[in-house]
């Protein structure tokens, strides 16, 4: 390698190293802002005061969905295993909203600890399979896999 090329190589590598360090520092310092949602466990560790908007994410607890009669209101419980938060939402839910499925709700807590959602999005997992395979898995005792929300 000629000296000119060596010099260029060093310059380019230095620039790359600098940019990488900057990117790492930026993403670590933005860690909290880049979290799209808080899990019920996050909430238990770092409580968010009532009235402040945030996104709550987790699984819809099976058996917890109640539709309020004569209105579009739905009540359900969002859980991530150890902790859970009750949610109320008025509006049309996405097609994939169902018990055991992941959701992300935007809204705020009221004084009674109920999360009043203004928007509910369904989060789906990375598993794709035909219905027959899902049935077979359920029969053999494999719970139809759902996203792991236990990660921090």
């Amino acid at each position: 390698m000629t000296p000119t090329r060596k010099r260029r190589l060093i310059a380019v590598l230095l620039i790359l190293a600098g940019v990488s360090v900057a990117a790492v520092v930026a993403s670590i310092s933005l860690q909290q802002n880049l979290l799209y949602f808080q899990s019920p466990s996050d909430l238990a560790m770092q409580p968010i005061p009532p009235g402040r908007q945030f996104r709550l994410g987790g699984l819809v607890k099976p058996g917890s969905v109640n539709r309020v009669e004569d209105s579009l209101a739905t009540r359900f419980v969002v859980t991530d295993g150890p902790k859970e938060v009750p949610v109320e939402y008025v509006g049309i839910l996405p097609d994939l909203f169902r018990e055991g499925q992941g959701v992300i709700a935007r809204g705020s807590l009221n004084d009674g600890g109920l999360f009043e959602a203004s928007e509910v999005l369904a989060k789906h997992d990375e598993n794709y399979m035909p219905p027959e395979v899902a049935d077979a898995l359920e029969k053999t005792g494999h719970v139809s896999a759902s996203t792991d929300y236990s990660k921090e």
Binding site: R8, K123, E126, N127
Partner: protein, 261 residues
């Protein structure tokens, strides 16, 4: 190429090095790649026909998402290609910045519009998929935002290249931007791991296998190979045209015009 390697005679003996050196010559590159392009288009068309037929008519619907999951067969190959096109662009940019090989500069610059197109396909197909499944076209989570940043990086490279009149200088500036923007690639890939996102995690990893049922998997692989051939054909065609444009007055182009091939 006017630059000389110091121990040229020694390197000449190695057939691989010789071939790479030859490819650096615009005339040789033009003729060599010209032979592949029709084959690339043919393979792309055949694989796409097979893959799309399978994806739309043969593959069973998903147990959760029903029919809408079929967008996967467009969205995922396009998303992989949008990243791979950037990797190729960045590697070419790196080589171009240090060795100043004009053919490689042109390859880097011609990868940008193709990659940008795949990024647009990824974003549009993804948002059309997001509406029925998530309930929204767009959210500002880490995965979606970093993929949008990828589009802006591509547009930045294209813009910078076209903003400077002298093509070699323009390529050098744009190559540097392309290289710096490569830090976004791991961010896109790991965004679903590092942060809570609405976008689900990766279904397929090189080491860990696939969480897509095998009956649904192979059309995805067919489609992802098909887009690679599309990319190859498109990249090489663009590069050849760019070479012709730049070398309009050079001997090898005159020969092509005279001989009509």
């Amino acid at each position: 190429m006017t630059e000389k390697t110091p121990n040229k005679t020694k390197l000449r003996k190695n057939p691989v090095v010789l071939f790479i050196h030859k490819l650096g010559s615009p005339a040789y590159f033009y003729h060599f790649t010209g032979k592949f392009i029709p084959w690339f288009w043919a393979i792309f068309l055949v694989l796409t026909a097979i893959g799309m037929y399978q994806a739309f008519f043969v593959v069973p619907s998903d147990y959760q998402q029903g029919e809408s999951f079929r967008i996967l067969y467009l969205h995922v190959p396009a998303a992989w290609m949008s990243l791979l096109a950037y990797i190729i662009m960045a590697v070419c940019a790196f080589i171009a910045l240090i060795w100043r090989i004009r053919v490689v500069e042109i390859l880097a610059m011609c990868s940008a519009p193709v990659g940008a197109a795949f990024t647009v396909v990824t974003l549009v197909a993804g948002s059309l998929w997001g509406r029925p499944t998530w309930g929204t076209y767009w959210v500002w989570d880490a995965r979606l935002t970093s993929e949008l940043v990828l589009l802006f990086l591509y547009l930045g490279v294209i813009g910078l290249y076209n903003a400077i009149d002298e093509p070699r200088k323009a390529a050098r500036a744009a190559c540097l931007l392309a290289l710096v923007g490569a830090v976004n690639l791991p961010i896109i890939h790991y965004s679903v791991k590092w942060w809570n996102t609405l976008h689900q995690g990766s279904s397929i990893s090189l080491m860990g296998g696939s969480s897509i049922d095998s009956s649904m998997l192979w059309p995805l692989l067919v489609m992802s190979i098909a887009v690679k051939f599309y990319y190859g054909a498109n990249l090489l065609t663009r590069s050849r045209v760019k070479l012709l444009e730049q070398d309009l007055r050079k001997g090898w182009v005159r020969n092509i015009v005279r001989e009509g091939k």
